[in-house]
Symmetry: C2
Subunit: 314 residues, 2 copies
DNA sequence: CCGAGATATGCTCATAATGAGCATTTACCC
DNA sequence: GGGTAAATGCTCATTATGAGCATATCTCGG
């Protein structure tokens, strides 16, 4: 995987994938066990080194993912390249070779776990990101710890800066912005509140191997932003679905609830979907019409997406 | 620079920067001469290999830029990591080592060229991206060539796909989306209409060394998108400026004209700026009040930016 | 000093987009 | 048949947008 042994002064380049899906109204990420990690950090993302045989970065990534999880990828998008020394905190700055990791976001429909790979809810790693049931109770403890960290800053100015960042990312100021997943994680990291940064407990969610949780945070933030201006949600949906299902997936991804009638009005007037002839025998209630994604929308609108409102509702 | 000689199977990692500024109402990019390139491709972005002495990717980038151009960078953001085989067309796929390039976007206020570095207008490289004076005449020839390329597709289906992409990116369908700079460049590249892809002429703008024009396209697209939801324009502005200057800079970046009164209403109601006491003796016309960026807006709004309208006006 | 030309600013107005609800329909379960 | 659960259809008040009209102030050429 990444963090392999040095062989020369040339950098090592790893590839890693945050593979996301949404099944049963719960957002999922595909994880694999990682050996040789500290306790509580044995979960990771599918990953492996870039090899000379790989024709491109993305092809190399697909190869690693299929080998490790049996999952073949559809939609793939590069996220970010993480440098090692940004990532490590163990002070290994003596000028050795670098180890980079190019992280990708992948969206898949079916969850077909293979080998030791397992699908986990996102919110296992970021419990405070799920606000579908209102403000998560875990949040209070987290924010309290963050505020203590702000208090103990070296200077008052630094303390104020920390306080501002807490307010900005965790919502005291201007409400909750669901896209700031990475900023929230980084704040927790800097405050030493996650095991990846040396914390003893996992107050703020399950830890991961290496810097994989940072990559996952990057992926979630990117996806949450992108559904607003690109019809990427449909990469996660089956070919036919009801508007209710679509809404629940969007809510699962964004972590906030939406006003039902307005949601369907939005989807309809954006021309994102079209009716099929069939309906479903849902769980309870009136049967819903099955819809399908209208590909033509890509040619009609400059930025077709589901611009979610800032607010929330039932 | 990148594309250096192979030394092992380990990948080579390069760093490159698209350093952008806006002076005299014209958007600029800092370029350096690149030796050993084909004719017409002697211009490039500041770049250099990642070295073991570099503490982080970004610090390495800053070091290279200062060494090559004397410019110190303020705002820096990672753009994308380009893999070599995605980049090259010379068929060197025999399984050698990889050469990657991590590209960055940097925004600076003052243009202080040093050594051989020079500031050039963006639109030297992408003439068809500047619509401030209306639809650029160069565009017709470009689109005509693209359409010819679509015609000569192997299959009708592929031809239709190409036609759709042309319409989508160059505006036949759904109007002009100023953010799709990269998609437009890639289309031209695929169609073989740029020197980087083997074209003899530079019908679609000045070429650059390596894949630097692709990086620049990525940078422009990112910036054009980002000004809409983050107050990054102010990284390009002096401490005090008039609303007219701000508007002209935004227009220069986005390449489209905006309705003046609505622009100032937007800026005002978003709370992005505050008045200073002073006014300017402009070129002609009534003196304008000098404004400054209101940093506090970062704490107040979730996504403070200048969401430009789709349309344009005088 | 006057009028033209060039901006900067203030305001108005029609239309579209949003945020919240109310009211009906149509299944399924007792 | 009555109750519960969704899915749908519509309405309404509030904002946000896109376009203009009207004024205010400078500079410049006569």
């Amino acid at each position: 995987m990444d963090e392999a042994e040095p062989s020369a002064a040339a950098p090592l380049v790893g590839l890693a994938a945050a593979i996301l899906a949404a099944t049963l109204d719960e957002p999922r990420v595909l994880t694999v066990p990682v050996a040789g990690q500290p306790a509580g950090r044995g979960e990771g993302l599918p990953a492996g080194p870039l090899e000379p045989a790989h024709p491109t970065l993305e092809r190399g990534l697909r190869a690693w993912v299929e080998r490790q999880t049996g999952q073949s990828l559809g939609y793939v998008e590069q996220l970010y390249t993480f440098g090692d020394r940004d990532r490590r905190r163990d002070g290994r700055d003596e000028g050795g070779q670098h180890a980079l990791s190019v992280a990708y976001l992948a969206l898949v429909r079916e969850a077909r776990p293979a080998a030791d790979a397992t699908w986990q809810s996102w919110y296992r790693y970021f419990p405070y990101e799920d606000r579908r049931a209102g403000r998560p109770p875990a949040l209070d403890a987290v924010v309290a710890r963050l505020e203590a960290w702000a208090e103990e800053a070296a200077s008052p100015a630094e303390g104020r800066r920390r306080g501002d960042r807490i307010g900005l990312t965790f919502g005291a100021a201007g409400g909750w912005n669901e896209e700031r997943v990475l900023e929230r994680y980084e704040l927790l990291f800097e405050a030493g509140l996650v095991p990846e940064a040396g914390a003893a407990d996992s107050l703020a969610g399950q830890a991961m191997a290496f810097d994989h949780r940072r990559m996952l945070a990057t992926a979630l933030g990117r996806l949450r932003g992108k559904i607003k201006y690109r019809p990427v949600v449909f990469e996660l949906m089956p070919p036919a679905f009801t508007l209710g299902q679509l809404q629940r997936v969007v809510e699962a991804l964004s972590g906030v609830l939406l006003h039902k009638q307005n949601f369907r009005r939005l989807v309809a007037q954006q021309g994102l979907v079209e009716e099929t002839e069939s309906v479903t025998a849902e769980t309870g209630g009136r049967p819903a019409r099955l819809m399908r994604f209208r590909r033509e929308v890509l040619l009609e609108r400059p930025a077709p997406g589901l611009r979610l409102p800032a607010g929330r509702a039932g």
